[in-house]
């Protein structure tokens, strides 16, 4: 990659609505991962996509390799620059190669059946949104997107070479061995001939990125849930409700949207899902939610009749929590010498809704914005730096990752760099002397626990399975040591998604219903931990593959 041509655009989006204009601004940072011509197209598409506004005001910035931050008024319709609360960084790798290998397909008798170029339909995308006032990372994601192909996709990932017989006179691989010069000449000819198809293919991929980032991720900055208003109830069922999004087009409507109640028990807030709805955006921008197939809507109507407020899900940040949980503040900063590794770690820990992650790796860039906003031009804008101190720092050295307590300088936890997410999560709970609490048994039958309501100070994602242990104290050489004995397992809620959820969650009991019931009812100390078993489908992150770059770090 030629760094001279590497440049970063920062797009600052701020909301046109005056009420929230100073509270919601987003910065996109995207780097040119390689020098392919598709980049320009991607860039153009992205700006065009952002130009649709969706109720946001757009500001474009350039941050070059010399680390100079400059406003690009021409891309912003020459409008006046305002401060932004959020900065959004955006990087992707189209996995472009304009010189792919020429591949040969063979039948069972090893006869050539086809010759083709195979382009990579995958795109690696990362995004991170940082609060410029506090440096808190409010959102981050890493995803491999795949360009889905159908009859209507003009450019395909597989480019068939139909005239291979005429060109090579037989198996191209045989020509490659016997006459490398001739092969090289023919290969170059084919590359030249098919380069427009390759370029077209990569441009298509760029459009996928823009849709994903611009249309589908903005909702992450909205509230994670909102009130159901004007519900239509008939025959004791909730059938429909209509919402008018605060910013047109900005509310993301999932294929299925959960509608739930929020209740409190002792010091805990927890949600109870009452039905699933499907949202449809109307011409006027409003969204009509209709009851999803096979959903009775009865529970929802009963909740309304009982005077409860219903909520619908927008974001995925979660809604369950403990009302007073000051002692469990975990302000974490990731500080390792490798930017890629930093990004991976940030992604990892941001999945824990109980961890507030602060953007140390962008200290310099954040500082440039803050300096800029001090100028007279922004004097009437509401921008106030409100830094939050870190109480924990994550550092990496070779194969180990350490979490240090900043206040006293001690290492509170150390993990292997190849530990999986559940191991890190459990180690962190142990290191900070935290536990996943069983708030109550929510469903029981004949002395057996069927469902538990739990609270984890680190928060839950959907995918983790949980294990329940009873704790006995063993006296060893006069010292009291806790011994955990596994008594049961709890199910994952949904293995398809692993985004961050709230800190309270209901979990069905999978195994040990009687033992769990008896231990809780007897007032025994019960410990809940994430299952460290590796699932068949490998849904749980494995840090192993992401840490190759750790080698050579100090």
């Amino acid at each position: 990659m030629n760094t001279k041509f590497t440049f970063i655009f920062i797009l600052i989006l701020s909301f046109t609505l005056s009420v929230v204009a100073q509270d919601r601004s987003v910065a996109y940072v995207f780097t040119k991962a390689n020098g392919g011509p598709a980049w320009q197209e991607v860039n153009k598409n992205l700006i065009a996509e952002l130009g649709k506004n969706y109720g946001y005001d757009l500001y474009f910035y350039n941050y070059n390799v010399e680390k100079e931050l400059s406003y690009l008024p021409q891309l912003n319709g020459n409008k006046e620059e305002k401060t932004a609360k959020y900065m959004r960084q955006f990087s992707y790798d189209l996995l472009e190669t304009y010189k792919p290998n020429l591949l040969v397909s063979l039948d069972t008798n090893k006869n050539v059946t086809g010759v083709f170029f195979q382009l990579n339909p995958n795109i690696l995308v990362r995004s991170k949104t940082t609060d410029l006032e506090t440096s808190q990372i409010v959102q981050n994601s890493k995803a491999t997107l795949k360009l889905e192909e159908d009859h209507f996709t003009p450019f395909k990932s597989r480019i068939n070479i139909t005239n291979w017989k005429a060109l090579f006179g037989g198996n191209p691989d045989a020509v490659k061995t016997k006459d490398p010069k001739r092969y090289a000449a023919l290969y170059d000819k084919l590359i030249l001939e098919h380069s427009p198809k390759m370029e077209g293919f990569f441009k298509q991929k760029g459009e996928v990125i823009n849709r994903y980032f611009v249309n589908e991720q903005l909702h992450l900055l909205d509230e994670s849930y909102s009130k159901v208003q004007n519900p239509e109830v008939s025959k004791e069922k909730l059938n429909k409700f209509k919402i008018i999004p605060e910013r047109k087009g900005s509310n993301y409507v999932a294929a299925y949207t959960s509608v739930f109640t929020l209740d409190t028990l002792n010091n805990y807030i927890y949600s109870t899902m009452v039905s699933l709805f499907v949202g449809n955006t109307e011409k006027d921008g409003s969204i009509i939610f209709s009851r999803a197939p096979f959903q009775s809507g009865k529970d929802a109507a009963e909740a309304i009749a009982a005077g409860k407020q219903l909520y619908y899900e927008i974001g995925s940040q979660g809604y369950g929590d403990k009302i007073v949980d000051q002692k469990n503040v975990m302000n974490l900063g990731v500080n390792t010498p490798d930017p890629d590794f930093n990004a991976t770690m940030e992604l990892y820990f941001n999945k824990m809704s109980g961890v507030k992650l602060y953007d140390i790796s962008n200290k310099e860039l954040i500082g440039k914005f803050r300096e800029k906003y001090k100028s007279e031009q922004f004097i009437n804008d509401k921008f106030e730096v409100k830094e939050q101190g870190l109480n924990y720092l994550l550092t990496a050295s070779k194969e180990k990752i350490e979490v240090s307590n900043v206040e006293n300088g001690s290492v509170v936890g150390s993990f292997n760099a190849d530990d999986r997410y559940p191991v890190v999560y459990n180690s962190l709970l142990d290191a900070l002397k935290l536990n996943i609490e069983v708030i109550t048994i929510t469903k029981e039958k004949k002395g057996k626990a069927q469902e538990l309501l739990l609270y984890s100070p680190l928060g839950f994602t959907h995918v983790e399975k949980l294990e329940v242990f009873s704790v006995n104290v063993e006296k060893v050489n006069g010292k009291e040591l806790e011994r955990r004995t596994k008594i049961g397992e709890l199910k994952a809620t949904n293995e398809a998604f692993d985004d961050a959820k709230g800190r309270t969650e209901r979990r069905e009991v999978k195994d040990g219903d009687k033992e769990i019931y008896e231990a809780i009812k007897a007032g025994k100390k019960v410990v809940v931990r994430l299952s460290e078993k590796v699932g068949i489908f490998g849904k749980i992150d494995n840090m192993n593959s992401k840490l190759g770059k750790l080698n050579g770090l100090k």
Partner: protein, 280 residues
């Protein structure tokens, strides 16, 4: 009466054991954590020697990387142990930077931690690679007196990360034994067949970084009188292998050798301990 005698002898034994190995308990059974500062391993010797006799030691880049992770291995092992507060001296700079940053006025309304609460150190651990003997030594200094508190050393046999990682575990065990009196006691027989102990609960777990399949030697510390001197000797009683690492503190071991003797001595109230053994 027999039980009474046995109880007295057990109590005396436990007292002697604790006294000898420097384990001091408070009335609530919890000892004060030792504050341990761990420094980066000194690899100057490795670099110098390796440059001079490039192939002589049989060490390569992989070994170098593994060796340089030794401090992290020590931190990993001791940070999981509630008897220690670990200070990673390599992180001091970034921690100090963060502490300084929080003094800034932009934190006025934000969350800040308490300043001036940094932990002092009771002990300093300095790991060093010794090229002449192809070994790693760790010197533990007592900060208050400024003296060498103790030292542990292990030869490195074999090559590659796995060998070095394994010898790190041996080194940690040696430090635990020599410097901090940390033993791995056998707690209770869980399964027996006839007179033979088959499975035993031992007080070692994830906190000490043990894994399933690790081989352990079971021993009893006995006293030998040589003239007017009394010396301690670890008498081998049997062999075991870790069957299950239960949690932070406990594991179940399967007795591979000496099940009858283990059973006999444990039933007689003798305190048996075990230790990790070097691989063949």
């Amino acid at each position: 009466m027999i039980q009474y005698k046995s109880l007295i002898s057990s109590s005396i034994y436990i007292f002697i054991f604790c006294f000898c190995f420097g384990i001091h308990f408070h009335t609530n059974g919890q000892s004060t954590p030792k504050r341990l500062g761990i420094y980066e391993i000194d690899l100057k010797d490795y670099t110098a020697k390796n440059n001079a006799v490039a192939a002589g030691l049989g060490l390569n880049t992989e070994d170098f990387n593994s060796l340089s992770s030794l401090s992290s291995q020590l931190i990993y092992a001791y940070s999981g142990n509630p008897d220690f507060v670990i200070i990673d001296k390599r992180n001091q700079k970034v921690i100090n930077e963060e502490l300084e940053r929080q003094k800034n006025e932009t934190f006025m309304d934000g969350y800040t931690i308490n300043q001036g609460k940094q932990e002092g150190m009771d002990y300093i651990m300095m790991p060093k690679y010794l090229a002449a003997t192809n070994s790693v030594s760790v010197i533990v200094y007592e900060v208050e007196g400024g003296t060498v508190f103790c030292k542990a050393e292990t030869d490195i046999k074999g090559k590659g990360a796995r060998a070095i990682n394994y010898y790190s575990s041996i080194l940690i065990q040696s430090l635990n034994d020599k410097c901090f009196g940390i033993q791995i006691p056998l707690v209770r027989i869980l399964k027996s067949k006839g007179d033979k102990a088959r499975e035993v609960l031992v007080a070692v777990g994830k906190n000490q970084n043990v894994r399933k399949g690790y081989k352990m030697e079971i021993f009893e510390t006995v006293e030998e009188k040589l003239g007017d001197k009394t010396l301690k000797r670890n008498e081998k009683v049997g062999m075991a292998e870790i069957l299950l690492v239960e949690d932070d503190n406990f594991s179940v071991v399967e007795i591979m050798e000496g099940g009858e003797e283990v059973s006999k001595r444990m039933n007689a109230g003798k305190q048996l301990n075990c230790k990790l053994i070097p691989k063949n």
